[in-house]
Symmetry: C2
Subunit: 185 residues, 2 copies
C-alpha cells in the first residue's frame, strides 16, 4: 500500500478513535503534516493493575486508570480491591508516528532530540514508525493477595511524585509540539 | 570517518572498558560481527539514588549500585543513608549498538523483534545506533530528608519483585543472544 493511501486509511481510524484529551492537540498537528500519521497515543496515566504475575498481560486487570490526576483515596481504594499482585504505576505519555520515508523520520528524530527525547527511535522500518515515550515512571508492588502493605504515607509520597513526573513528561511533549509547529505548520 | 575506522576505534575503547560481567559474552559476540559495534552497555542493576529532585542527575548520588542481586539489608542500609529524595530502582539491561548501514540495522531489529523486544529502535541515523532496553523496571521513592517511610515489608516485597524482573529482563537478552549467534556466528 502506498503512503498516501496508508495515511488516509489511518487518518480515518484516527478520526473515529477516542484520543486522550491532553494529547489531542499534539496528534492533530502531527496528522496535519502530510509526511506523518499517528498510529497510537496515550497521554500518560496513573494506573493500578492486578496481575497474576508480572508480564502476564492477558490475565491482568485494571483496578483503576486515570489520565487526569486522581484523588489519592481513589488510588488507595483501587489497591484495596486487588486480589493478585497489585501494582501502582505511573505510565509516561507515549506516541507512535508513521513517517512517509526515512528522510521524514530523520527530521522528526532531530526535532525530538532538540526537545529532550534522547531515546526516541525508529522501531519499525517497514512503516517508518517512530516511538516517542516519556522516561518518567513510577512502578511498585503495593499489595499481594489482598494484603495491602503500602501504608498511607508511602502511597501519598509516591502519588505526589507521580503527579510531578506526569507533569514533567508532558512538558517535554509540549516542547516537542511547539518545535514541531515551527517546522511544519 | 568511514565505518571500518570508526568500528576499530570504538573496539579499542571497548577492549579497555570494564564491561558488566553478565552482559560481556553478548557484547563480545556482537563485536565479533563486522557490521556491528557496541557503544555502551549495562547488565541491569539495583540502585538506591539520592537526588535533590527527580531528573536532577547532576546533583544525584548513588547510595548503592549492584549488578548482582544484593542482600535486602544492604538495600535498606543504603536507603537509610539518604538525606534528599531517596529512590529505589531496578534498571533493566540496556545496550547501544552502532550498525554499518541501514540494512544491518534492519536485520538487527528483526532479530530483536523475534526475541521479544517490541520497542527496540534506531535512536540515531548518523551512526545507525540501535537501542536495546529491557522493559522490566521498579521505581519508587523510599525516603525523604532522611525519613524512611518504606517499612521492611514494602521493601522486601519490591526487592523480591526486582529480583524476578531482572531475571526476566536478562532472559530476553539471552534469547536475543542465541538468535544473534545463529544468524551471525
Amino acid at each position: 500500500m502506498n503512503w498516501n493511501r496508508f495515511r488516509e486509511e489511518t487518518l480515518e481510524k484516527y478520526r473515529k478513535a477516542e484520543i486522550d484529551g491532553w494529547i489531542k492537540p499534539i496528534t492533530d498537528d502531527i496528522n496535519s503534516a502530510e509526511c506523518f500519521v499517528t498510529l497510537s497515543s496515550c497521554a500518560g496515566r496513573f494506573a493500578v493493575m492486578d496481575m497474576p504475575e508480572f508480564g502476564d498481560k492477558r490475565n491482568s486487570v485494571f483496578l483503576g486508570k486515570w489520565h487526569d490526576v486522581p484523588a489519592v483515596e481513589d488510588v488507595l481504594n483501587a489497591i484495596r480491591r486487588g486480589v493478585m499482585e497489585t501494582w501502582f504505576m505511573l505510565h509516561p505519555p507515549i506516541l507512535h508516528v508513521s513517517c512517509k520515508d526515512l528522510e521524514s523520520a530523520r527530521i522528526l528524530l532531530d526535532i525530538l532530540r532538540k526537545s529532550g527525547f534522547r531515546r526516541a527511535g525508529i522501531i519499525s522500518l517497514k512503516r517508518m514508525v517512530v516511538e516517542i515515550a516519556g522516561q518518567e515512571r513510577i512502578e511498585f508492588i503495593a499489595a499481594r493477595n489482598g494484603q495491602v502493605f503500602t501504608d498511607a504515607v508511602v502511597l501519598r509520597e509516591n502519588y505526589l511524585e507521580a503527579v510531578k513526573k506526569l507533569e514533567m513528561g508532558r512538558k517535554r511533549f509540549e516542547k516537542f509540539h511547539s518545535i514541531f509547529r515551527e517546522v511544519f505548520l
